[in-house]
């Protein structure tokens, strides 16, 4: 079963706010000079910010904020966030893979930015209501 795709806008302001809230102040997430200086195409989102957006989608699909039992991703491609009002977008979709013997639901998740996958092996195990 496919779950309804979720789209999240990501701007530089979001990255600054996430840096403050998470304590990850690596300048590649807010400083163009640093980012391009280490060979990146520009400022990139924290991988953990992208994972947090996926976490929002998973909570939404589960219908509960405390449903996640196991959640893992591999970061394969950076989410480049241009210095514009629009920023960029991350789209998150998933398919229900199976129900485990314990009654948990396994999701296989896809996250893309500008049509390219930014995560691989993105999986969540969730408790579902009822």
């Amino acid at each position: 079963m496919e779950l309804p795709a979720q789209t999240y806008r990501v701007t530089r302001a979001d990255l600054v706010r996430y840096a403050g809230a998470s304590g990850d102040f690596n300048p590649i997430h807010w400083n163009e000079r640093t980012a391009t200086g280490v060979g990146l195409p520009g400022v990139i989102a924290h991988g953990m910010f992208t994972m947090a957006l996926v976490g929002r989608a998973v909570a939404g699909w589960a219908g509960a904020p405390d449903a996640v039992v196991d959640f893992g991703v591999r970061f394969t491609r950076p989410v480049v966030v241009p210095d514009t009002d629009e920023g960029t977008e991350v789209e998150v979709s998933a398919v229900v893979k199976e129900t485990t013997e314990e009654g948990l639901t396994r999701l296989d998740i896809t996250a893309t930015c500008r049509g390219e996958k930014v995560l691989s092996q993105a999986r969540a195990l969730i408790r579902t209501a009822g």
């Binding site: 403050g20 809230a21 959640f71």
Partner: protein, 148 residues
């Protein structure tokens, strides 16, 4: 310099307790756009059976990223942090993190490999309450890119 595989299996001393604050959970939830009332309103969290506001699923990284500095900054291991990128991340929950938790991290080096000149360091952080109740196990794989 490549990472020394003999560090695999090494466990570090528990970190100082981290007090999970209600405002920190609200701040983090706001930063990631998690608007569910259970992240913000203690009453909404209690209605779900939690003692106080519930952290979003990736919140523990706030605690574990700081905790794993123990490993990353271990001079004997010699990780060059300027060349580190995040490879994988996983959380396996016993229960969600809630405001009021006092959490201690125990870091273990689970795996060290190298491929194509890059080093791969997998850490596991067991997050428990000060009373010893397991809350969440957190795995991170860091990639130490080879020198250009």
């Amino acid at each position: 310099m490549s990472l020394d595989p003999s560090f695999v299996g090494r466990t570090y001393p528990p970190t100082a307790p981290y007090q999970v604050g209600r405002e920190k959970i609200r701040e983090f939830a706001t930063a990631v756009g998690a608007t569910d009332p259970a992240h913000h309103d203690p009453e909404a969290a209690r209605a779900l059976g939690h003692p106080d506001v519930v952290a979003p699923p990736t919140f523990p990284v706030v605690i574990t990223m700081a905790a794993t500095q123990q490993i990353v900054e271990d001079p004997a291991l010699g990780v060059d942090y300027s060349r580190v990128v995040h490879g994988d991340q996983r959380f396996a929950y016993t229960r969600p993190v809630v405001a009021g938790d006092e959490l201690v991290c125990v870091n273990t080096i689970e795996d060290i490999t190298s491929r194509g000149g890059h080093g791969f360091l997998t850490t596991r952080t067991d997050v428990r309450t000060v009373a010893g109740e397991p809350v969440v196990a957190v795995w991170s794989k860091l990639v130490v890119r080879k020198e250009a």
